[in-house]
Symmetry: D2
Subunit: 366 residues, 4 copies
Amino acid sequence: MSSNTFGKLLSVTTFGESHGPAIGCVVDGCPPGLALAPEEFRDDLERRATGRSRWTSQRREADDIEILSGVYQGRTTGTPIALLIRNTDQRSKDYGDLQGTFRPGHADYTYWQKYGIRDPRGGGRSSARETTMRVAAAVIAKKWLAERHGVRVRGHLAQIGDVVPRAFDWDAVERNPFFWPDAAMVEELEAYVNALRKSGDSVGARVTVVADGVPPGWGEPIYGKLDGELAAALMSINAVKGVEIGAGFAAVAQRGSEHRDEITPQGFLSNHAGGILGGISTGQAVVASIALKPTSSILVPGRSVNLAGEPVEVVTKGRHDPCVGIRATPIAEAMVALVLMDQALRHRAQCGDVGDVAPRVPGQAG
Amino acid sequence: MSSNTFGKLLSVTTFGESHGPAIGCVVDGCPPGLALAPEEFRDDLERRATGRSRWTSQRREADDIEILSGVYQGRTTGTPIALLIRNTDQRSKDYGDLQGTFRPGHADYTYWQKYGIRDPRGGGRSSARETTMRVAAAVIAKKWLAERHGVRVRGHLAQIGDVVPRAFDWDAVERNPFFWPDAAMVEELEAYVNALRKSGDSVGARVTVVADGVPPGWGEPIYGKLDGELAAALMSINAVKGVEIGAGFAAVAQRGSEHRDEITPQGFLSNHAGGILGGISTGQAVVASIALKPTSSILVPGRSVNLAGEPVEVVTKGRHDPCVGIRATPIAEAMVALVLMDQALRHRAQCGDVGDVAPRVPGQAG
Amino acid sequence: MSSNTFGKLLSVTTFGESHGPAIGCVVDGCPPGLALAPEEFRDDLERRATGRSRWTSQRREADDIEILSGVYQGRTTGTPIALLIRNTDQRSKDYGDLQGTFRPGHADYTYWQKYGIRDPRGGGRSSARETTMRVAAAVIAKKWLAERHGVRVRGHLAQIGDVVPRAFDWDAVERNPFFWPDAAMVEELEAYVNALRKSGDSVGARVTVVADGVPPGWGEPIYGKLDGELAAALMSINAVKGVEIGAGFAAVAQRGSEHRDEITPQGFLSNHAGGILGGISTGQAVVASIALKPTSSILVPGRSVNLAGEPVEVVTKGRHDPCVGIRATPIAEAMVALVLMDQALRHRAQCGDVGDVAPRVPGQAG
Amino acid sequence: MSSNTFGKLLSVTTFGESHGPAIGCVVDGCPPGLALAPEEFRDDLERRATGRSRWTSQRREADDIEILSGVYQGRTTGTPIALLIRNTDQRSKDYGDLQGTFRPGHADYTYWQKYGIRDPRGGGRSSARETTMRVAAAVIAKKWLAERHGVRVRGHLAQIGDVVPRAFDWDAVERNPFFWPDAAMVEELEAYVNALRKSGDSVGARVTVVADGVPPGWGEPIYGKLDGELAAALMSINAVKGVEIGAGFAAVAQRGSEHRDEITPQGFLSNHAGGILGGISTGQAVVASIALKPTSSILVPGRSVNLAGEPVEVVTKGRHDPCVGIRATPIAEAMVALVLMDQALRHRAQCGDVGDVAPRVPGQAG
């Protein structure tokens, strides 16, 4: 399978470079009959957008999406849905002097090593611009999951540098530009990021995504596990260096008597498992977290080499993101939603439609 | 693709239940001409074996492997290599009373939810017994990687509960039953695990795998990234709840000026990236770590329900592993080796044989 | 995906060489709960068996199948089903002198060209022995298709050399060793094949498979078309050189007014389409035919070269099949059944369970 | 894998409906460094174009292709190449009255059965318009095959109705609108097709594709055989009902002593195998033929039903193709080229680069 495609039954193929003519994707395998209009993509694309606020890179793209196929009279037909966004803001001159230089911490060096050729304009294919199409594709997945199964996928920033929330409120998350769950801390965060921007440096971040309403039974052992596929999908996001399910690395220091989620007739008593056991959903919330590295595009000069092998000093000009993690929340949600919908279809294939099966509740027939 | 298969060009399909007649695997896509004998599997299977020492579960399997196909006169022929191990130690009576009970923290509940039927003997398909075949398959991958590319894949225990090594020496790792890199701490560890065993409880662990000699250029953007596939492969190991590449979650609190690995004509100055940028290997060591949860099969009673929905108390009888992470090192190595070999073949497909390409060293022709 | 695996959701991986220790397969993706016992494989394996009668090669294999995994208490569990048959009749001495010679019309030459190494014993991996496992895997598919959808897959010999049936009766097919649908011609066929055997030569054959009861809607446009996948599956059978759906090559000389199958409220008026339009089943019988070449293992001497590049004369010793097509019927049925079950699961994934959907009959609600 | 994607390493995903905003494709896995310009697509798109001559349907599309990604400074970069063609000729009013009617011999009925919804404009996704993108994608494959391996893929019409060529000359093929290899018959053909058009009826056709220069060793046993994948790819073309490799169905009546291609130190003495043995190329020309049915869109009225289940009479208005096979040659070439390039990359992955391997000629070192 193409390495620019993911998903087994709901598959998404993305294409396009940061400063090429367009970016786009093909979403294949979507069930027929789902209502879908271009307007429905706006919200999540805006949430992800570069330039959403002064806290992230100032580049602004209109990001008007065009549905090229797969929808007839406002409904999906079961054929591939192609989505296209023209790149309108292609200031490639900003990047001209990077053609012969490898920026530390970027894919410049590895693309060149792999292919012997690379598109240096804005990072080319390795730019986070590509994630726009993941968010677009996931609009379809989120809608289907919600309509068909009542699943809601949402995320929040869980840490930035060494700052963590002191309170948690889902309602706060969408009311500040940081997707931060503690409304009282927003001013503090603004000051933090402002200082960071002035210093010309950057920090990492942690984002957590929670999917409520996932029924038990999704996920395929052994190499198609729900957590395995979430790990691959989330790790494929630019700048991600770590993935956790449920307790994650905190489980290392836990005791078994603490970690295992006990079960009562009323349900589970905790959720250290993050809603997944043996690679299959338990019926609890699916919880995944990611670590995003601090971006390397900073104003602090760094050592590197050029194509001639000579030492050079690299300083990012133009846009500068003090924390790429700030806009990663919608992207992480997107990957979780796409994995869940794919697994939902796969589960239906092997085990029958959820609606068909008598509810499997211990103590009840079925 | 089957969910019991992984790898795109070097693909491994495993089958078998813990207490069924046999476990096995089919390794397909291996280049022809590799020397391969049954004896070569012994070392790694022994390293992984249940019952390696008193520190892990006392079950002992002979684990004599049979090569059923794909090898002629001691060399691989390019056709599928099937490996088989008969299960000789099938004391399923130990598990008889678990048929109607869901053990907390196990896949019992989710397999039943997914399939409406499950093999309760020793965890059936969800048992770590399955990982034996991953280790076996990876013997082939390790050998090919070493012979063809000089790649060496090795791992060690990096944390158990809250205990971390105070020194690091690769030579120490294979000389103690914990794969612990600090020889001076082995007695301390023994006491720690003994105490744990007596308490009837368990702890989690952290394992790190390092692959040296990986050339730059392996890995396929965007959804076939080397780190993405490592994440999926490692997360698919039983009990794993988190995966890190390089600095991993430590990157959250790092500054960009610290995290980015600067480049000089003599090479990279650090390796926070864990040898991967943009999903492609940099030529530095590839470094991945995993978090393993504490096993739920403990002597401390826990609450659960039975098939009738009634509350029950679950206590593990028979074998008890105070830390499953102790024997996870060879399994984690196996998954890294299999991913690397698959990516090596994929790179060769698209970009030509490594031997063909003039060395891509900045400042040199090519 | 491995090239020894086929099927997207119901996937079959086969392994093994003609004269190696064993042949086997792994069937993954089967829905849970299907009753399955080793005895159920006997009939179709016998129908396929070499040595079924004096009309085919006299080699005899017991072909006792062992179910290694995926079945618990007589029912499938949803995990991979591994099937194994030990090779008991390995008279490789018959083939010893072929090691350095390329038999015309065989895969000897191409395997050597591709891999630089080959297992010459009985054709190794390229032997029709491999098809045993396709027939075994399809026992599962045939059963599921019959139980779940009332689909029946059956085939017959439709031509041998230039002999064609003069009458057609399904009941006759299983009552003669040729799978011939015209009982009155069986003696004639016996004489024909006897004469052929005495001449030391061979002829080709045509086999037709018909699947009744296939509901409309199975098949995935564009590159997962039902007819496209049937073509690949049938062409993968040893000695097959052509595949037809419905009218097949006869459509070349047809007029559109004759070929198109008109529709009335009572149904289609003909079935030149072979039950497939646009890659999707119409609800009529699915009809596919294959052309099998005359085997090249004949007693008539033929020119070839050896490894040294010298001209040699090749004569087959030992077993000699005057028409390999005689035993191809169960293999062709197997491939059709496996493709149909895979497509049934894929259809269920995207479009919901058949039981869910109101019947789509023109003129009725739904 | 998405059913609108094909190819394992060189993968092509197509999207778009006949009368939607656009059609397009994503070609992934192409080696980097291949020169590629928009002009290079023109020839083959023109050869395929509807409206090429008065002998085929008069619809005309400009079919100006846009390269959206994957090419930088005129060379492929190794990232996905997206190609887009806007639909400019969308006279969907022609099709308005077909919305409630199922045309006999079309996919109307089966799409509706499968999805419960369909785009009726010009056949929607099932239109042969989709094949435009296959031809476009194959421009890349043909170029790479020619440059890298000296492979040439070309086809010709081999039969129309019951008319067959009386002479054969490759040079004639591109000099007449029928791709007919016998220049002396072109007037006769014109008369034949004219008469057919006046009658309002249609006929079938046979197209043959020949690939010269394919090295031995391409193709993957067992389920990734070169002939198996050619069969799937060719059968996926609209209106195809049969596929043959080499002698094809003629092999049924052949004797083994006639069919087998004998080998001498100077090479093969015949090519009944069509260049493939055991699923692997022999080094001879790869030869495949297809049967195309007569189109059902004819002026002769036919019986069908409407959505209400009532009997209706269907007559095609507007465009009418007396023989869709006339423009199938470039499409068949395209599918053969795409399969060959994919197999070439797969062979390189497992067995090393062709340039690496000492030539495997019997009697020579290697």
